[in-house]
Symmetry: C2
Subunit: 190 residues, 2 copies
Amino acid sequence: MDCLEAIKTRRSCRNYLEKTVERDKLHRILEAAAYAPSPVNKQPWEFVVVINVLCKKQFFAAAEATRLKLAEKSGWKWLSAFNIAFLSEAPVLVAVLGDPAKNGAEQFLDEPGNGYIEACSCAVQNMLLAAHAEGLGSLWYSLFEQKDAREIFGLPADKVAIGVVCLGYAEREAGAPRRKSVEEMTRFID
Amino acid sequence: MDCLEAIKTRRSCRNYLEKTVERDKLHRILEAAAYAPSPVNKQPWEFVVVINVLCKKQFFAAAEATRLKLAEKSGWKWLSAFNIAFLSEAPVLVAVLGDPAKNGAEQFLDEPGNGYIEACSCAVQNMLLAAHAEGLGSLWYSLFEQKDAREIFGLPADKVAIGVVCLGYAEREAGAPRRKSVEEMTRFID
């Protein structure tokens, strides 16, 4: 698939078919992740690939409780109605772990940056694009508590779960939300 | 260019030719940025495209002072010798601004996330890939102080400069740093 086409036609998928994701596809998606840029090439990422049905169900249950709590805390109505069944229905969940010890020199700035989060985010974007190029749907999910992810996926305490990426064959094509135009979001200093 | 090929052959470019970047290419690169995922589709990004030579030189001078300070603070020897002339030599710098007011519900977690940084990072990765597909070199640069970026690029105080992306035709092809193998960085829960 053409690169610009992949970028422009990737969608967040919230409905997955019960169809196994081929291991070679998964391998290429994870390989793509590692080609993201990172501070001093520290590659601050690790991945836990969850295919086990019970483990996915446990995560879904914890995320459901979190969703209800966030709906109450935020007062955001759409969150109360948000169906996150995709967390147990997607054939594959990939927990993306970042290592805060692998920041670059931006950690020494007056307003310190967190290069490891930025690098892991780029790795996730590569995964979403590679999944799309492989004919798979994907979704970056972030609404979970670290303690739940640590417990359910058995994560080390010194790593941060940046997100959980759902992967699988899409049940249907998702719509394209409106994007800002270049003119709306850009200013030139000529 | 094929999507997986673009992901795997993109390199960080630190040497640019004195050759103007076509406006239509720039437009497609910025357009690609907006197709990144973001919490609740808030699209927390804005861009300042710097072509003005004096403005690039001012930023280079400020970043030089910062680099020396960071080299001292970190004690990292490579930083003392790091040649960042690309900041004035690249024909185009794009300051990527994030809006901390445009986080998603992850801001209400016990360990709050910063979805706007993650979304802006995905937007940058799209830019780097789109630039590569358009035959351009690129680099994500983060070693600058916010106050310098605000002053030199005239940024609003409520936005954060996530990074500065250098764009231009590469003088030569950069080498490929080693990547972790899938086996090294992945664990399966089957």
